[in-house]
Symmetry: C2
DNA sequence: GAGATACTAGATAGATCGATCTAGTGAGAC
DNA sequence: GTCTCACTAGATCGATCTATCTAGTATCTC
């Protein structure tokens, strides 16, 4: 047992979907990148391309959830600092990969939003996980309405990643990181404007 | 002169790219949707699919720039209110179209970011226009670092649109609109935390 | 009317797509 | 040994893709 072919296929698919999207990625390219025979693809993913997509989204999503939990679990710094760290991890990944490694889910999510219900649902679940991880970190600091703030933080992160990738410039990620960190600090209990909302 | 075939092709391409992305949209589908003959496509867009993509991005981008200027040019409400209005325009479009009409650029931008330089550049220019329009509106209210705040607002908008589309739920757009409106108000001169940054 | 230009119309090419199918290989069960 | 089953290997299918090519039609100029 134990052939790692399935894992290699999943990894290759995740990498290609991240870089060039779902529709632009051919299954032939996936098997070539994975060094796997064509026949193995339909052995491990009898549901074809859509199943491979769903599984790859779940795979990438889980990997990033672990990464979030790692950063959020660190002792140093407050929640604002932790969020800043997440942004800067993406900055590094973007620069190191030549603007290739953005969000592993976003492209597929947009492509599938009105096209494939299983794929869209898989993306939505990943986003929910990321949001929940962020919300827990915010709530640990006593921030009220942590769920809503986490939604906004995740949205700003995804959007900034999109802008930075499109512009080939890390500026949007850097700027957005600073402003969101300040926004988080202002939501802390005891902050001057924390309860200016209700 | 005066055949509107080119305009119909552009409109159909923009609509399809918005809904299902660049790679997933076939040129056959574009001509069919436009009611245009196949031959006309390469007559008006000799550069093929890529030129059609670049032109469609510019077309959609200009249309939205006009829409932004319209909303931002209104007399009623402050900048925070205006930004809120932009978010809610998208909420309406999303609901009316059954989650189809998101950002007309974002999907293509992500697909092209590491794939087609001309296409990526076209998207970057559109984003720059949108950011500039937002920055002007913010600066008109005396907000400092309006460019940076506009970047953040645009990022949050794009990200919230992505999340709402993936979740089939306007919640992320609504929540993010409120938080960004508050953030803008806190950046106004005279606000308690306006100069707590430097 | 003649000729040039702009556009329409669609056949066709050649490549590639996702998916199915058959045949073969290899390791473990008994 | 041999039976079984997980997996490999790739030929093959029909559909669809982008792009090119040739004709034909309409419209304007002169």
């Amino acid at each position: 047992m134990g052939s790692d072919t399935r894992a290699r296929l999943l990894e290759a698919a995740a990498r290609l979907f991240r870089r060039q999207g779902y529709a632009a990625t051919g299954l032939k390219q996936v098997t070539a990148e994975a060094g796997a025979p064509w026949g193995s693809l339909y052995h491990f993913f009898p549901g074809g391309k859509e199943q491979l997509g769903v599984d790859a989204v779940g795979y990438s999503g889980a990997r990033f959830t672990r990464l979030f939990d790692l950063v959020y679990g660190r002792a140093e710094g407050d929640a604002a600092e932790a969020v800043r760290d997440v942004f800067h991890l993406s900055i590094d990944a973007l620069e190191r990969s030549g603007w290739g490694d953005g969000c592993p889910i976003a492209t597929v999510a947009l492509e599938a939003a009105s096209t494939s219900e299983p794929l869209r649902h898989a993306c939505a679940e990943v986003f929910a996980d990321w949001r929940a991880a962020t919300a827990r970190r915010l709530a640990a600091e006593g921030i009220e309405r942590a769920e809503d703030l986490a939604t906004c933080v995740l949205a700003a992160f995804e959007g900034a990643l999109l802008l930075s990738r499109a512009n080939h410039d890390t500026g949007p990620l850097r700027v957005t990181a600073e402003i969101m960190a300040r926004t988080i600090r202002e939501c802390r209990p005891g902050s001057a404007s924390a309860d200016s909302v209700s």
